[in-house]
Symmetry: D2
Subunit: 463 residues, 4 copies
């Protein structure tokens, strides 16, 4: 029923268009959440004996989002600055036709912000189920990668340059570490999403008046609504205290940052010159409009784009929170809605793509080995320094370090490092040199760290 000409379908948002999280956060999904809040509140009132018991069912048929012209609602939302006001007009209009006696109690003692904030939390909760499920799928896949490649020797890189030997398993475990931490924090945030219920100015005045003859206290009624909607019951209305929104936004951004880290690595490692990994292939993915040979790591490209967008949205949420004033903010509240939704979508798109990426990532162990070999024996120069410098200190503490640094410099300039050690450090036997320069002997706690990380983030039983 809505006008297609001015609608967005995600044409400029391949990072999340077409995903499940997108569907769960569409205008229609938000509209449904608003209607759900209105309807569930009628059930609370009926259950408390404050309205007739048949009212909720009489209103229910009008509480289906697909019966509304969303584009028209959106345009009319300019009038009051939020979509609840035109929605109520249309909802009441439908009920007036279908069940006139049920019109009166609709939106009783509520205010726009109650409906919209609670609907945003409800929509977030629904989207988070999918986002978390995908994040846990990604965790499981990353844990598998970590364990599978626990012994795949690789070269670590710091500030873009080869640094020390490591394992590909530890790299995957560290990806899991980031995703695992962020997912755990996001799950905690999901469990804390609160109902908003304060009435026109956060005093619950209308509800207090309405419930004056009831056995139920107003705060019990709002607690009942929270329970019915699956939301947390807050200490008090939070219409001007926006930590529930900023905290959710930050947790989503943290997941996006962790996913961004993985995507950056995959983009690097799948460069032709490095070639350690390839994204999972799928028909119709990774092509180019011009170059027939291209196989672009497009999952990572889109995850990275999502991570790059996130900081701007959290800046909006925090700016809005800090700009709040009075008993309902003029303008700052309004800026949160779209920013929060975009973070849900970006996180949803990134989590889904990450799960797919991690599940199908191809690791080219030959290239991993080749790059480690390219690093040469200097990749263990830290160890050589620690082992050999004392042998060369000869009465002058610290002089050994300079001598080893000299050997390293000569090797950087082209000389064979093993030969230099043989020549300059007679105290080392050939076996010791060979042992010293073997990268497999210098991966430290790789195995223990993989074990700690995979144990700490085991994924979710039913994911």
């Amino acid at each position: 029923m809505a006008s297609a000409e001015t609608a967005d379908y995600g044409l400029l948002s391949p990072a999340w268009a077409g995903t499940r999280a997108a569907a769960l956060t569409s205008d229609e999904a938000l509209l449904q959440a608003m209607l759900d809040v209105e309807l569930e509140w009628l059930r609370v009132l009926a259950s408390a004996g404050l309205i007739k018991t048949e009212i909720p069912d009489a209103v229910a048929p009008a509480c289906q989002a697909n019966r509304y012209d969303i584009a028209d609602l959106a345009a009319r939302a300019q009038g009051g600055g939020n979509p609840v006001i035109p929605l109520l007009a249309d909802l009441r209009g439908k009920v007036r036709e279908e069940a006139p006696a049920a019109v009166g109690p609709i939106h009783k003692a509520a205010t726009s912000q109650d409906i919209l904030d609670s609907a945003l939390m409800l929509m977030s909760a629904r989207a988070l189920e999918t986002i978390l499920a995908d994040a846990y799928r990604a965790q499981s896949a990353l844990a598998n990668l970590a364990r599978e490649h626990a012994d795949t020797l690789s070269v670590a890189r710091t500030l873009t340059q080869h640094s020390l030997p490591s394992t590909f398993g530890l790299k995957a475990a560290q990806w899991l570490h980031g995703i695992g931490q962020a997912t755990a924090a996001l799950e905690a945030a999901a469990a804390a999403l609160p109902l908003q219920w304060g009435g026109a100015s956060g005093t619950m005045a209308a509800l207090t008046t309405a419930a004056v003859s009831s056995a139920a206290a107003p705060l019990d009624l709002s607690a009942d609504l929270a329970a019915r909607l699956g939301l947390a019951d807050p200490v008090a209305p939070w219409q001007t205290n926006r930590l529930p929104v900023t905290a959710l936004g930050s947790a989503l951004a943290d997941l996006l940052a962790a996913a961004g880290k993985v995507s950056n690595d995959v983009l690097l490692l799948s460069r032709p010159e490095i070639g350690e990994v390839s994204e999972p292939r799928e028909e119709g993915r990774g092509g180019s409009s011009a170059m027939p040979q291209k196989q672009n790591p497009v999952l990572s490209v889109l995850i990275r784009s999502a991570a790059l967008a996130a900081p701007g949205y959290t800046a909006m949420l925090q700016a809005a929170a800090g700009a709040a004033d009075d008993e309902r903010p003029g303008g700052s509240w309004h800026v949160e809605w779209q920013a929060l939704r975009q973070l849900l979508r970006l996180a949803g798109g990134a989590a889904a793509k990450l799960a797919e990426l991690a599940s199908g990532l191809q690791v080219h162990t030959d290239a991993v080995a080749r790059n480690l070999a390219l690093a040469g024996p200097l990749v263990v120069s830290e160890k050589v320094m620690a082992r050999v410098a004392p042998l060369l200190d000869a009465g002058a503490p610290g002089s050994g370090k300079k001598k080893v640094q000299g050997l390293v410099s000569r090797s950087l300039a082209g000389e064979d490092f093993a030969a230099l050690l043989r020549a300059e450090v007679p105290a080392l036997s050939e076996a010791e040199i060979s042992d010293l320069l073997d990268p497999a002997n210098y991966i430290g706690q790789s195995a223990a760290l993989i074990e700690r990380i995979t144990s700490a983030y085991p994924g979710r039983k039913n994911a």
Copy 2:
């Protein structure tokens, strides 16, 4: 033809939903711009004799955005990371059916980024016409306000407190100053929007090959395309140099900031306790879902919300520009599209609302006068200090200042300032005191500044 379930109609964006700028930046508008670029390029090729002259007209019927399923295109855009690839498939599909011989030349020598960047610039240019027209309407209205209230004495405020006398006209002129500067800069940015045309990697290689037998040099062909699209012809392709995007984004954000300044003032001045202005009334605007007496300054609320969102989007654009790499960036390019579009929409919504607000703003001169009176004679204490302190210096330079500060403090504590001056500064005659304390005598260059500002920003002839 698109799926309503996952579409956005602006339900969470009352700041711009339903505006002309929104329609000019919808997915369909962007799609049309992409098709326009593809079609106009065929005209360039035909005009240069590189393809048959009848090709463009044969392709034209397929270049109508409303023939495409946008939701489907959006979902398929995930495959290649941008919407051009699925669009080309569908475009070629339609032409294959309708004019098979015309399929071949479509997208000849072009690449996705050429089409999408150029389409974004084209869409921006179209939206900017409306945005600038509204900004100029706002300028005219603000200039009228400034001139009309050039003599309306008012109280200036700094750090929220009454400071000096001023005029309401100067306040309006300063609003114009901000909007005028930002509009001029935005108009300059609009005139500089460049075509993107570099082929798959910015070398124009495919075009060079295609045009090898032609009299036209590749760079002449791209210049022709730029002229046909009304875009600037850049020094070179800018696929990794994103200043055209960041500069446009910054100019839009500056307009939003200037509009935000106006809205902040209107929100303050329309508070019941201050009451100096009211927003223009309109049926259906400013109501509340709960409180029947409410008349909210919703134009300003929405302008303010737009201004609060802008910094986050410019942060995205600048982060994207700084993250570019290679000959086409993986991920950072993708994050620009939505951020730029949102800035166009926010600026479009804010400009339209500002034009309406400025055109109909009611100034309550009685309240303006009342608030100046509330400030009392201390509002000219700066002048009293300058005039009276030397009279009290009596041999000790600087001592006069302390004495005047003492009188000010006593007046702050409740004593009548004029009476204090009479008692403590015998050198001042009654007429001098009266003259000294008259705020109308202390508005400085208000008139001259109003004249300078309104002359500098006269609006546009045909706006």
Copy 3:
């Protein structure tokens, strides 16, 4: 020992210059934290028998930050991209002179990032003690305000306009609600600040080699270091997983946003036309360079400026986290340091100023009452609508609402609301009308909410 010419003393940062948090986060404080980490690590090694027991005490005298030329260290930090490398050179230089035999073990098995990340966490922990203490002081003061003014009738405001009756106590309680939530979250973040200890590439390879002959496992040694520094022992090194940094940054930003909300309200309420509160006076505060009568609410101005800066810094932290790559990021790590420190300073400045503001805030109850009176009887029109509309429904459900809206509109246009009710709603007795229009009868759950909030955020025993 540092060069004054290029130093910053906070001249452009009145929001935090001169505060305790500033001193705890100065370059010298950071330098001291780095030296503390180096020294404490020697104690761990000595305690594990890996180095001689006398080493730490021999190195300790060189671990005093005030012995270093910080400006010189800063300039030399460009060479390696971080300050640890030149610091080590100077530290070793001093020890070489003072206790030559102790030079060797310094920085054993550690890497720059271990030192700098751990030092940043240590410095954060130290600054957070002060920040949290101030936040709890603010909480106590706000709780006092809330209880003291539980019965001070006031007018609530939404979208800048008078909405419903409320109490000043509830406003203060909501300030507490925001600060309380944010403080609790920040305290949790403070308790989770982790040690960073992974060696050159996060494998703990050097340590594994060094500890090969020891009874202590490398991960036990790092746990010991964490315990000595009062930091948390993480699952694994987090050199590329920056959630510990972003989470702390977000928690600081949330406190700043909550403080910003309070400051916005104080700035509004202390405007001369509103006049409900005044900031605590103090000699030398709130003056102007030009106007002797000015008493600016400068505590709130500075708190607000801190809140406005925060979103930009969190955007930096999140951008940095999402840009990480490899086993140590090139560039993104470096951007965190200053952003995190600025958030600590801003939060420290804001918390200190808020504690002072809340402790000394003057509430002008006469102005509070005057503004409520200014709102007039329409401030309870929501209640009138609920009570009276059904009386006027007369067979046509919904028609009563329109009639009441008509009465409200006539009252907005100037007619006396009570008189209108008398004339148009004969069913209401005079006593009922009087009762209905009394704002004291329409403050809902104000008392209960004040109680809930003050109970939930009782402050800290020893604060």
Copy 4:
């Protein structure tokens, strides 16, 4: 004279610590700029006959920044919310001792914001001289690189994957394109930095009163001051219209983004597996605290860190501009100062490092050639598609494309592309195949674009 304990020397900011731009934007530099504005204003007044001619010289000795205790000024700035108030107290104190008769005229008719805004512009102008000089040095070096490698065949990369042949010269030219555009815009911004001069509330009231007996109009006096300081004379005071600040900030950010692009590429290209470039070596640069063999590309790391920080600062500036209200904003003005300064420093550090990087960049042409060879013949598959597909169309338009795509896929799977063409496209002669697959024949307008870019951005004569 300032306290070292709480000072910053840039220990956490290796991106700019120790640079010339840092020295030109230190607290002392800002203080000097404030004193310069105060002193120059006295010269204006003396020149106009409004104060005695000997006053300026009498005040001049006190206008030396190194005579002030900056840490003390910074701490006292909390009182009035800006550093001008305590500075005036100290300045007057010194003059009172040294030339008592000259105290009175100091700061005559000025206000804090006049001094601070003008000083920030003055400091910016001074820093920009250095920044622009370095940017032009970088331009010259990049132009040299572009010309020198105009014929160095290389492989272009899009979305991280090999795309087409190109030249290293074009890559360098595109670096120049970005830097050149940004520098030109920054130079324009530098030329537009305006004086701020409006008095306590932007009306110039005090000045009007002071100049009442003078031949000089107040706006002539401020124009004279602007000329003396080398600043632009604005249409009107801009105390609440912050476009001069946001525009400068955006221009600095654009330069940082362009520099960031270069650094990203250098970081990628200097990875060991790619190896196309090396940063210029310098003693003491690029080392590691742990690994003796490391040679980190630390110039690029620091440039990249500067680019990553910029968007957060521009977000602050734009948030501040949009939050302005009244005749002087409470809080939003205050947040600009540090954000603007940090952008100057980051741009200054990045420009200096970029100039050094570009001047000494080592291009390893053997590696450039090796990577192009690694791309293999498929790097021209776009050309093959254009040339060969029509040969295979055989009656079915479009079928040729599929056939070529089939050959490309077989080649991706391991078959020799030339052999495939020989076998499947008999119409092609061996010479044609060889010609077709030669990457040197497919670099399009590389030479022309290098020429256009180097001509458009020739650097500055005296740079």
